[in-house]
Symmetry: C2
Subunit: 335 residues, 2 copies
């Protein structure tokens, strides 16, 4: 098992990435290869405690920024941490994974270009784990494919189910289809067709439509949607949560009485925020890519990176890629 970590990707790279890696090797006894500027990584490593043999460095010279055109950047920046990381995963084939908090677009374009799709997979999907009531819900596609066909959504159901089974250890994960009503005949022509296909998919436990207002109740383990709707949903979740919690803070601080009350609830508020923080759940895998590729949030701190690495370990241990290959093969034969 080879875990590569892009030390240069994300808002707080390289410091928080390197710190998260040191925490991960201390906690999980794994070996990591950090990709990035050698001098910067050495400098950051000098600030943390870890067993020296557990981390080595694969040098890279450039970084792909969040605003660069993905395919152009992948083609032109051969010495970037993302491209060098993908090449390394490609050499090792199925037994390695890259964790990066860098550009989602560049990771997807690079993943498709350098690693390709698993045989039979029409489109890979970005699968984002969301902390919901009492458990984790996996939302896919959360942004890889803005235009989808019903057949893609069917495969997303299979991909999500396999990942959830093996990473979150649930035997028959409940797969729901995001829709604007719970009845079978509801929704756009895309979701109506996807509903039929998902119903016919033998390898998954399809529970029917799920409405967006019920996502946080954790009624489904895996929620299938197109990448446009999924991305809108994910960004609203982020925006609204921070808006409500900040607005509440402002409201409380506006009165003396509120300030005293605010001080008293601070601890409870923090534990509540922590419970539903995306830092807790680690990274989002690109499922369907022929190779391990996990996207950590752009604003990841060391704790979030450590959790993304934990998920990378589970991804490898779960042997996700060959399980996807086998299941897709069987589902296609059964048609």
């Amino acid at each position: 098992m080879h875990i590569f970590v892009d030390a240069m990707g994300g808002d707080f790279a390289p410091r928080e990435i390197v710190k998260g890696c040191a925490d991960a090797v201390n906690e999980y006894q794994v070996h990591l290869t950090l990709i990035g500027s050698e001098s910067a990584i050495i400098n950051e490593l000098s600030l943390v405690k870890y067993p020296k043999e557990a981390i080595d460095i694969l040098p890279s010279k450039s970084v792909i920024g969040f605003n660069e055109e993905p395919m152009k950047a992948i083609r032109e920046k051969q010495d970037s941490s993302i491209v060098i990381g993908l090449d390394a995963v490609n050499r090792d084939e199925e037994d390695s994974v890259l964790v990066s908090a860098g550009s989602t677009g560049a990771l997807l374009a690079g993943g498709l270009f350098k690693l390709g799709r698993i045989k039979g997979i029409k489109r890979p999907a970005l699968a984002t784990p969301l902390p919901t009531k009492d458990h984790v819900t996996l939302l896919l596609d959360s942004g890889a494919n803005a235009d989808c066909k019903a057949e893609y959504l069917q495969q997303f159901g299979i991909l999500g189910s396999i990942y959830y089974q093996n990473v979150f250890n649930v035997a028959f994960p409940k797969v729901g289809l995001l829709n604007i009503g719970t009845e079978e005949e509801k929704g756009s022509s895309l979701v109506k067709k996807a509903y039929q296909l998902l119903s016919e998919t033998k390898s998954i436990n399809f529970i029917g439509n799920i409405e967006s207002r019920d996502i946080m109740n954790g009624d489904a383990d895996v929620i299938v949607t197109d990448g446009f709707t999924g991305n809108i949903l994910l960004k609203q979740l982020e925006g609204l949560s921070s808006f409500l919690l900040n607005g509440l803070k402002q409201a409380i601080l506006s009165s003396t009485r509120g300030k005293i009350g605010g001080a008293l609830i601070k601890k409870d508020l923090q534990s509540f925020k922590k419970e539903f923080s995306s830092d807790e759940v680690g990274g989002a895998p690109f499922l369907g890519i022929r190779g391990g590729l996990i996207k950590a949030h752009g604003s990841s701190n060391a704790y979030a990176i450590k959790n993304a690495i934990k998920q990378a370990i589970a991804y490898m241990d779960g042997d996700i890629i060959s399980k996807i290959e086998n299941t897709i093969n069987i589902e296609m034969q059964s048609k």
Copy 2:
């Protein structure tokens, strides 16, 4: 001006509807016609104070439930409050409006069947006002059309802009297109094409793409999207807000310290909740229908109904329907 109110629609009908009507006639000095069971309305009216001449009753015998198939219900329940209300609006043509907290699907199907579309309008849209930071943002389509073409989205921009201008008194409302990135080239093929059409629309102030995480900042006055995405967004807003506020309450009540703090912040929390409650902003008009039709939230209390009636008055005063007719006519000629 004729304002008809469906006294039988919504979770708290007829009591809260009738109470909201009495409050509205007291506050706005308007005349209202309540549609519903005569005995039930008379009974509820006996419990409230209002000038007797300000309210009269148009009797109906049945009610269309939330789970009935819309078109079937409209055809079969000719004596329902919604059908009788739509027939009344149809008789009065442009100078009347129906406010109902009943089934959205039945109101849309009935509106199309009984009143029809304004000439030149391809699809009517449900336009939901959302309370955002410092102002109101109008989201359309929030659920009338699950499948949309780019041309519909262009018209939604025109419809929303006219409504916002006249009901919220903003000379050049900022119209944004909901998308998964701010750059012009982002998104699905639908929104890319809609972006072009909206850019070319002379009668609106198009400000480009807006991401879902920024909605609550109130950057746009009008947000255009397809009815599938809009409905997903709206229901997530409802679900997430109540999930976060309830979760927070639970967290606070879990410790003694928190309980004391919670008591101290209660007032600030309530004023914050009130500021962003959908009860504050009134109903959602179906724009593009040839006749005034305003949908109040299914869980409307008297206060929400009073605000929906306030919006109905502004709708009539703003002469929305003939303004839509004129603008669509001009935009179509300029092609």
